[in-house]
């Protein structure tokens, strides 16, 4: 009964080759988030959607894009991955517009860049 699902769990790509990571949720939550987490560090927010409204963090590189075609799915596109983009990518959801509700995380996708 997984609630936040991420695919694939492990992704290997080549330097500069575009890659897309997928997240889906069964919670019908309004808000979906993408985080980047590097080894031994806290998750770092890249951007989030409230419904279809996209909110980018100021320090998120242009190389990172996101799409949310419907409530259940959200994608992270990395247009030209660099070696520094190797990380765990976490998707999370929450229900509350006031952002005072718990965020539920998926298992993450581990991205390796060769």
């Amino acid at each position: 009964d997984a609630m936040v699902i991420q695919n694939p769990r492990y992704q290997v790509t080549q330097f500069g080759k575009p890659v897309t990571l997928s997240c889906s949720q069964t919670l019908n939550h309004n808000v979906m988030y993408w985080y980047q987490q590097k080894s031994s560090q806290a998750p770092k927010l890249l951007f989030h959607y409230y419904d279809k409204d996209f909110n980018n963090e100021a320090d998120t590189p242009d190389n990172f894009q996101s799409r949310r075609p419907n409530t259940s799915f959200c994608f992270l596109d990395i247009r030209s991955p660099g070696l520094g983009d190797a990380a765990m990518y976490l998707c999370a959801t929450s229900s509350d517009r006031a952002f005072t509700d718990t965020q539920y995380f998926g298992p993450g996708t581990r991205l390796t860049v060769l």
């Binding site: 806290a42 998750p43 976490l90 952002f99 005072t100 995380f105 298992p107 993450g108």
Partner: protein, 112 residues
């Protein structure tokens, strides 16, 4: 500046003992706090939360204490078990803000 941080990056305890993981924050406007547990290779898992109108909340084997006077948050784990080994993050949500602010994380290891 605004900061949510943990006092110790690592904590080692004996199996069966109680664990206390600490977190400090600097923004008195924060009104919601969450503790997450992250096991190796997995996403953060919600453990327990507390709102600023409370100073204590208990779950199963876990207790969160909030001291707003000194801007301090702690997670207490009773009778620590090997399965409690993980990195624990506190996270802060500020009223009106749109994102969680995560602390540095504390790695909890259990000695047999």
């Amino acid at each position: 500046g605004e900061n949510v941080g943990l006092h110790l990056p690592t904590l080692s305890v004996q199996e069966g003992d109680n664990s206390i993981i600490n977190c400090a924050y600097s923004n008195s406007a924060s009104d919601y706090f969450i503790w997450y547990k992250q096991e190796s290779g997995k996403g953060p898992q919600f453990i327990i939360d507390i709102r600023s109108n409370m100073d204590k909340r208990q779950g199963q084997r876990v207790t969160v204490l909030l001291n707003k006077t000194v801007k301090h948050l702690s997670l207490q784990i009773a009778a620590t078990q090997p399965g409690d080994s993980a990195v624990y993050f506190c996270a802060e949500l500020k009223q009106g803000a749109q994102k969680l602010v995560f602390g540095q994380g504390t790695r909890l290891t259990i000695n047999p």
